[in-house]
Symmetry: C2
Subunit: 231 residues, 2 copies
């Protein structure tokens, strides 16, 4: 959030006047704090990408971001809250990127298909060669997410909301267009998300850990059937 996105001129990197102005106007302290928080988040994302999982230490995050333990615990309640923040950011970024991707497609059903296959690819992707946007391969955070589901249902729900809401919209769109009839759009959306995001399980258990390309369509077939029949 520190940097403007790529479509707009990048004021932040060359414009000392702006820094000064912002620092002076908006309480200074606040923006400085936000910048420090962001440095922690960025360092965390880097670490997750590098080792494809969550097995890094808080020390690593601190060192990577050139800050101190003291500051870390000033801004975050603990590692758990850091991960939650990263997860939320990741889901949000994913939904934004997806929405952009979807903009080029107008057929409602086709939009849903694009949503599913794209998210699928991100979920299955090797965490190291990260997905295009600022979000992470879902796989890297899957165990955190499950832990969250067990302990803080409400947080899990709200963190997942961006993707969930987007998919709900897509489903209702399709329903409006008469391409689909749904008894319960919300639960259907949840089932689709679940099927897509936890696909690592079936990839591995079902053998053939290679054939990635084929299976995106295969899974879409499965989901499509599930949707279509629920009328």
């Amino acid at each position: 959030m520190t940097n403007a996105d790529a479509h707009a001129p990048d004021f932040s990197s060359r414009a000392p006047w702006r820094d000064r102005a912002v620092a002076r106007s908006l309480d200074g302290a606040r923006s400085r704090a936000e910048e420090r928080v962001q440095r922690f988040l960025d360092a965390t994302v880097e670490l997750i990408r590098e080792n494809g999982g969550l097995d890094f230490t808080v020390q690593d995050v601190v060192a990577r971001s050139n800050q101190s333990l003291r500051s870390f615990y000033q801004f975050f309640d603990g590692k758990h809250h850091l991960l939650l923040a990263v997860y939320e950011g990741s889901m949000h970024a994913a939904s934004v990127t997806l929405a952009e991707t979807l903009a080029s497609e107008s057929d409602p059903m086709e939009r849903i298909r694009l949503f599913v296959t794209t998210l699928y690819k991100w979920s299955v992707a090797d965490p190291i060669e990260a997905p295009p946007a600022a979000h992470l391969a879902v796989r890297s955070m899957a165990d955190f997410l499950l832990g969250l589901l067990a302990t803080d249902r409400e947080q899990a729900r709200s963190a997942s909301a961006p993707l969930f809401d987007l998919l709900c919209d897509l489903l209702e769109e399709a329903a409006q267009a008469g391409a689909l009839t749904l008894a319960n759009p919300r639960r259907t959306a949840a089932l689709i998300l679940q099927t897509t995001m936890f696909n690592a399980y079936s990839m591995i258990v079902g053998g053939d850990p290679e054939a990635h390309e084929a299976s995106a369509e295969e899974m879409w077939g499965f989901i499509l059937g599930g949707i279509a029949s629920s009328r």
Copy 2:
């Protein structure tokens, strides 16, 4: 595995002759070792059931089973291997119980439906009020399973094999009977298992965390559509 199952006479609890015979014939040491391993496993299952998760210490397991840390590390490489053993046992027990349940039903499609709805109930059940058999609510071990998927694909695969194989058989049965046409039974089986076992996600994300009863059928509808359309 220490006790014979309920359908057979229980030789183990009253039959000193048998204990002696076994101990003398099969190398003695081996059976004694197996008994000790089993005590660790039993204690672990108890602990998981009691607090509905994996947040107990190795010390707890040791104390509960009246053995020593030293012995524990003699038999297991670490907590991870203990959990793996418990998970394998759990999946195996689940597949046995399911197979028994299925025996009373002859229609192939109906058998699949029974498989899915039963496993679903176990997966969603409150871990404390454990499922009927020796296996655990899948939910209690879900985060372990995901960790395993990330680190030891091969182990994850083989541990899940009992359920997977059983479902594969059911699918092929149905295919033989002409009730179904499947392009790739193995991947379909994996998708079904995934959808069923990780349903906690969609239960929570999709809101309505209560309505459990309805959703078993709802999910079966989703899966049925997915299967049926994949011809």
